[in-house]
């Protein structure tokens, strides 16, 4: 379980996050929805302990990650996988080496076991025949799926997705969202950051709407869609000018 308690974070005297509190239950998919620059990606960095915070606490499976040393934090991070917005694949390594990177680094598995794991992960993302290709030989959608395979390879309990469908065509977007749903069926906990409402509705168990570093509303998809909060209504209205989705729900 992940719990953020009153997180505040400033950068160059700008308030990036203001008293953000969030709870993500095990085995669920939580979506953090908001416009660009709202502080969504920063929340993922806070969960990983990658950025300093001004105040508050982050608990991962009951452990306060801002009160442990760097070595212990690295151990906590190994239970978390992340798919970056820009994928962050290692461009000097091929697909097989990218996917197996952290398995090989941990040095716990034999070469044969690592190869089998890579095959399994690539099969999960439907890219079995790409092992020898390099990131610059892959399309945007393929890179995203390889990034997912890499995030899953070390068997994390929690997976974080930063804008997983941004820049992808509708077919690739759907494939990625289906993969996220498939992870839920495997009992994984996911946190997805996005600004696309359709995506959020498709995958979310719970939704948190954020604006200018503050949480505007949090709850189930139905609760959020029915919310009478003026920001949420305006945000959704700008996405769906015909307001169809509100009427249907």
């Amino acid at each position: 379980m992940i719990r953020l308690n009153n997180i505040s974070l400033d950068y160059d005297e700008r308030h990036i996050l203001k008293n953000v509190s969030l709870t993500v239950e095990k085995g669920t998919t939580s979506v953090i929805l908001g416009s660009s620059g709202a502080g969504k990606s920063t929340i993922l960095k806070v969960i990983l302990g990658l950025t300093d915070i001004k105040s508050g606490e982050v608990f991962i499976n009951g452990k306060s990650i801002y009160q442990i040393n760097e070595k212990e934090l690295l151990k906590v991070r190994r239970k978390i996988g992340i798919v970056f917005q820009g994928n962050a694949l290692f461009d000097s390594l091929n697909v097989r080496e990218n996917v197996s990177y952290f398995l090989a680094y941990e040095n716990k598995l034999s070469e044969r076991e690592i190869n089998e794991k890579v095959k399994e992960m690539l099969s999960f993302v439907n890219l079995e025949d790409t092992q020898e290709l390099y990131p610059d030989q892959l399309s945007g959608g393929m890179k995203k799926r390889i990034a997912i395979a890499r995030a899953l390879a070390a068997g994390p309990e929690i997976i974080l997705f930063d804008e997983p469908t941004t820049g992808l065509d509708p077919i690739n977007s759907k494939a990625i969202l289906e993969l996220i749903n498939k992870l839920k069926s495997l009992g994984k906990t996911s946190i997805v950051v996005t600004h696309i409402l359709n995506d959020a509705v498709f995958i979310a168990d719970n939704m948190t709407v954020i604006n200018e570093g503050e949480i505007v509303a949090s709850g189930s998809v139905r609760e959020i869609l029915k919310s009478d909060n003026s920001f949420i209504q305006k945000f959704f209205y700008e996405i769906f000018l015909d307001n169809t989705l509100f009427k249907e729900n």
Binding site: L48, L74, R77, A88, A154
Partner: protein, 254 residues
């Protein structure tokens, strides 16, 4: 406040840099764990810098021979050229030329590689997956530099002495055997020790400065370019400063 900010920022950077040095030294033993990266870095430094260092050393020795030869010739002391070249190359020019050339070659490579990894979130990815960038990226580069700078300095020394020897022979008619014998006889343990220890310190600081500038790259490609320049400039200055410290302080202590 306006005046204070740059100083505060500089102090913070100095603190971060000092912490990076401490962490790198602390993580030195992990170089064995990442031996594939270490060997790769050693190979890159060794093979790609060999000819650069060779010609740098060769021309330094040749120029030194011509310049000192013309002056010593006035006093009929051309037999002393070999001593000057040998001591000059081993104690000063060999390490400094190698240091400055490698500050440009290896320093720019490290900063641009790590800087582009930083900008494309690859460094964040390492941290996010529980891998220390110091352990994985910095230590192999620093250890590889410390190991490889010594043989490269030896290459520069030898190229300089041999180049100087041929110029001295053809221009000032000093016998090759005599040149070689006096060039080697004049060197004592102190000279060889200083000539050996210098490249190791130069290598350590060049590698760590270039890694620091790479890992602290922010913004975009313009800043990456600026950091690569700063890395080379700072590394070159450190080489010259350390050389002065070794010549003035360490030499007197020995």
């Amino acid at each position: 406040m306006i005046l204070k900010m740059p100083i505060q920022n500089k102090l913070i950077k100095l603190y971060d840099f000092s912490m990076m040095i401490i962490e790198t030294i602390r993580d030195f033993p992990t170089a064995l764990k990442n031996r594939k990266d270490l060997l790769n870095e050693m190979y890159v430094i060794g093979t790609q810098s060999f000819w650069l260092v060779f010609f740098g050393g060769l021309f330094s020795g040749v120029i030194l021979a011509i310049e000192t030869g013309h002056n010593l010739e006035k006093f009929g002391a051309t037999l002393l050229i070999s001593r000057t070249i040998s001591l000059g190359m081993v104690r000063e020019l060999g390490p400094v030329i190698t240091g400055i050339l490698l500050a440009a070659r290896t320093g720019a490579k490290n900063t641009s590689e790590l800087g582009s990894m930083q900008l494309s979130e690859q460094v964040e990815a390492l941290k996010a997956f529980g891998v220390s960038p110091i352990e994985k990226l910095v230590v192999p580069r620093v250890v590889a530099a410390v190991i490889m700078f010594l043989p490269l300095t030896f290459v520069a020394d030898m190229a300089g002495i041999i180049g100087g020897m041929f110029i001295t022979n053809t221009t000032f008619h000093v016998d090759l055997v005599y040149f070689w014998r006096t060039a080697t006889d004049v060197l004592d343990y102190k000279d060889i020790f200083v000539g050996t220890i210098k490249p190791m310190f130069f290598a350590f600081f060049i590698a760590i400065i270039s890694c620091y500038y790479g890992l602290t790259t922010k913004g975009g490609t313009t800043n990456l370019g600026k950091n690569a320049i700063n890395s080379v400039v700072m590394s070159s200055l450190i080489v010259l400063t350390l050389d002065f410290i070794f010549t003035k302080v360490v030499w007197e202590l020995l």
